[in-house]
């Protein structure tokens, strides 16, 4: 589905990604894990076309991916960003509608129904301004908005960030459910354990490089994992 | 001294222009026999907010120079031709000053123009450093001639002359009609021009039996004069005296027409619109009957009629800037003629003793006192059947006042 080959990029001459390879296959949940500041968000920006590559290539759905967010969305690579980035001045309904601004417009009504089925809470608050939602609801909205574009691959950037433990649990359940319908998901997280529980495969990133990769179970069992996180 | 041929038509204007051009561009050898031309500075704002007025002023000066040269130049100087050195005052005093400096360096013998009071004030002062004669064309501020500058002269009437004449004319017109107007409302722009005028009117008019109902100040630019009109409607004065600039006067006249405010007369002083041909052409209904006391040419003067024909032949309205500048240049030429030298001191002297009469304005003999031409006076005009007519004083009038106006 997604094939990333030795990409390098950064900001203003400072290299953040130093040659990353990874791939996401059909129907997979792939977890991309790493501590703060290792380049996960930069990787996402590169994938969704917000950041130009210095070298390397991204192939999506068999085709090379053009370097703009518009091209990424058109191809079906949908990125739910860190911090949600929902439109706070607009209602839930409108937020969802804009999810299908460039893709999936024809079946907007059907998709919206699906999102509301997935997130019944959102349906109750359809006309409420998104900025007034709680953190968890905002995260649901961001994911729902991403689903409106009929993604072929969904990138979730830190979906558990800032949520209470109970909500985190709920969120991971939800991700599992979305995937169960056949949607491939790339899950970028710092929440290691729960991510590994639902992921098929995982990559660990440290300092702009993939340092570990393999099946989620293998990685979960690897003693190096604790080192990567807790420095023990 | 003859300034203008008696028979003029469009073709001769064009030819004259071409001839003047040819003279200017002719090789020096051909002109070697002639005396060196006398440089005259013409200062007008032809860019910026006042650009349109400046263009009229320039046109007036150009026509005068053309006519003087065609009539043989300055005869006491061997027929020396006048040569225009034009300066764009760009509608600001500092640009005016800057151009005065340039003209001084180019060796002009005198400067004519300025148009707006601030430009005239600054430019005449800059010229005074070089004892360079400066003839103000329009600027009405009393300060211009009140500073004791030896070099500064104003051919046209200043503010106090204008207002005194305006009041006098109004009183006479009213008396002649059997005093139909008793109550007055003053609408004035909130600058010193309008405020000063209103104050003067408010103290003077009651002496003649008028009752001042209200003084209404309006800002420039005004976006909306509905409320002013509303007040006027409720006051219902016999006479409305507006002293505002063009845009506001147009707005006021139109709003009054719309709101059916119909006083016995609208009598304005030094107003930017009421004696403006564009206003009359564009809003014949709103303008009809409006009176103004302002600069105006002498409608009976044949030469003025000829100049008017030439101006209108090139598609320009004959606004008062044109005859004022024309006359000022002619006045200067007369002074040069009498001075017999292109010498600044002598020109100033000649201006001080001037008795010049060959102008286009409804003035008597020119007589300068402290730089102000005491022979100058404004006239009262009225829009009658779409024409601007002089209605007072009778020495210059080409129509009788319709008072009260049938509005």
């Amino acid at each position: 589905m997604l094939d990333v080959k030795s990409i390098r990029t950064g900001y203003g001459g400072v290299e953040v990604l130093r040659g990353i390879d990874l791939s996401v296959g059909q129907g997979e949940i792939v977890a991309v894990l790493g501590a703060n500041g290792v380049g996960k968000t930069t990787l996402n920006k590169a994938l969704s076309g917000l950041l130009a590559l210095t070298s390397g290539s991204i192939t999506f759905d068999g085709k090379p991916l053009g370097g703009s967010p518009i091209a990424a969305v058109e191809a079906g690579l949908i990125h739910v960003p860190e911090g949600r980035k929902i439109f706070p001045n607009m209602s839930i309904q409108e937020n969802l509608e804009l999810g299908s601004y460039r893709r999936g417009r024809a079946s907007r009504a059907r998709n919206m129904e699906r999102v509301y089925e997935t997130f019944p809470k959102l349906r109750q608050r359809m006309t409420q301004m998104a900025g007034t939602l709680s953190g968890g609801e905002q995260q649901m909205l961001a994911i729902g908005r991403g689903m409106m574009a009929e993604p072929k691959l969904l990138i979730l950037d830190e979906p558990s960030l800032g949520l209470s433990p109970l909500l985190v649990e709920e969120m991971f359940e939800l991700i599992k459910r979305l995937n169960a319908d056949g949607l491939p998901i790339m899950l970028v997280e710092q929440n290691v354990v729960q991510s590994l529980e639902i992921a098929h495969r995982a990559y660990i990133i440290e300092n702009g490089l993939v340092t570990m990769s393999g099946s989620a179970a293998d990685i979960a069992a690897d003693p190096d994992l604790k080192r990567a996180y807790l420095g023990l | 001294m003859k300034l203008v041929e008696t028979h003029l038509n469009r073709r001769t204007v064009l030819k004259g222009g071409a001839a003047a051009l040819a003279t200017l561009s002719a090789p020096a050898v051909l002109r070697a026999a002639e005396p060196a031309p006398i440089k005259v500075g013409i200062l007008q704002p032809v860019t910026g907010a006042l650009a349109q007025d400046g263009e009229y002023g320039r046109l007036g000066a150009e026509l005068a120079i053309e006519d003087i040269n065609k009539a043989g130049g300055i005869k006491s100087l061997g027929g020396a031709k006048l040569q225009m050195v034009f300066g764009d005052a760009r509608s600001t005093p500092e640009a005016g000053t800057q151009e005065v400096e340039r003209m001084q360096e180019e060796g002009v013998v005198a400067i004519v123009g300025g148009f707006a009071s601030p430009i005239c004030l600054a430019a005449s002062q800059a010229a005074s450093r070089y004892d360079l004669p400066y003839l103000v064309d329009v600027g009405v501020s009393d300060q211009i001639t009140g500073r004791g500058l030896k070099n500064t002269f104003r051919f046209a009437p200043g503010f106090s002359i204008c207002t005194a004449a305006a009041i006098q004319n109004l009183v006479r017109i009213n008396e002649a009609a059997g005093k139909p107007a008793k109550t007055v409302a003053l609408v004035h722009e909130d600058g010193l021009f309008g405020t000063g005028l209103a104050k003067l009117m408010a103290t003077e008019l009651p002496k003649y039996g008028f009752e001042i109902l209200e003084q209404i100040a309006v800002p420039t630019p005004s976006r909306d004069l509905s409320n002013v009109t509303l007040r006027l409607r409720s006051l219902n004065p016999d006479l409305i005296i507006p002293s505002t600039y063009y845009g506001e006067t147009v707005l006021l006249a139109r709003t009054m027409q719309q709101q059916r405010v119909r006083p016995k007369a609208v009598y304005s002083v030094l107003n930017g619109a009421a004696s403006n041909r564009r206003f009359v052409a564009e809003f014949p209904e709103a303008a009809e009957g409006v009176m103004d006391c302002n600069h105006w040419y002498d409608p009976r003067n044949e030469r003025s009629k000829a100049v008017q024909a030439r101006v209108e032949a090139v598609g320009k309205p004959y606004n008062y800037n044109i005859p004022l500048n024309y006359s000022s240049v002619a006045l200067l030429a007369d002074a040069l003629e009498r001075a017999g030298a292109a010498d600044r001191g002598k020109v100033i002297e000649a201006l001080n003793t001037s008795t010049f009469k060959d102008h286009l304005m409804p003035y008597g003999e020119t007589k300068f006192v402290n730089g102000q031409n005491m022979g100058a006076a404004p006239v009262s005009t009225q829009v009658q059947k779409g024409q601007i007519k002089v209605v007072y004083p009778t020495d210059f009038s080409d129509a009788k006042p319709i008072f009260p106006a049938n509005r």
Binding site: P69, P81 | A51
Partner: protein, 290 residues
Amino acid sequence: MYSPTILIEAVINGLLTGAIYALIALGLTLVYGVLHIINFAHGAILASAMFAVWGLKTLFGIDPYLSILVLATVFFCLGYGVQRLIIGPAAKGEDGNILLITLGISIFIENALLAGFGSDTRSINSDFAFSIVEAGPFLISSPRLVGFAGSLIVTALLWFIMSRTDAGKAIRAVAREKLGASLMGIDVGHVYALTFGLGCAALAVAAGLLMPTFYVNPRIGGAFVNIAFTIVVLGGMGSIPGAMIGGLLIGLVESLSGLLLGESLGQIGIFIIFILVLLLKPTGLFGAKA
């Protein structure tokens, strides 16, 4: 003291004038709300639209109200082009640059108008301009009633565009969350240009509604820009209902303070409101928190 009739009529006048102010402020607030820039060319664009109305009427006899449709389209395209081809690329995202560029555009337009039309003040004369509606003791100017209605219609239309169409929603999205919007595949550059175009189209409508009762010269924009700034600040920078209510309020304040304090002091009142709002509640009546 004035009679109630006059006071009521002053209130009506204030509202009628305020609606046009609001329309002029609308474009300014829209552009500020989305692009976060103060468009210094706003007044000059208004002046050029007014000249366009004047020109269509004078040269081809087209009624100002008819020309609105054409001019709104033309000015929308012009605005779109100017933002897309000049302001966007030249500014490179720096506020200081945008300031200089809109200033440059404003100098250019004003002087192009000066070169083309001279500094004369011009106006249109039409019979309709002088017609009035008599309602009891009140005489209400018909063109200004039309202006009021037109302004409300445009505001409603804009409100409809902003809340019901994808393009409008995209504009609102970009206004608050550029990154989130571009991740939805919204072309931010296009949205900016769209917004600028809408702002210019609103000015064209305002020009068409103003010309029957007002005049134009190359510098006329200045007469409206300061008041538009005040309205934008009062209503809250970026708020459409804020612009409308702010416009009506300012129209009312101007009218009543003009009547009670004198027209000149009324102008001072407006600036004092402007300063007080900035100091005490910079977000205005409806503005979003910074």
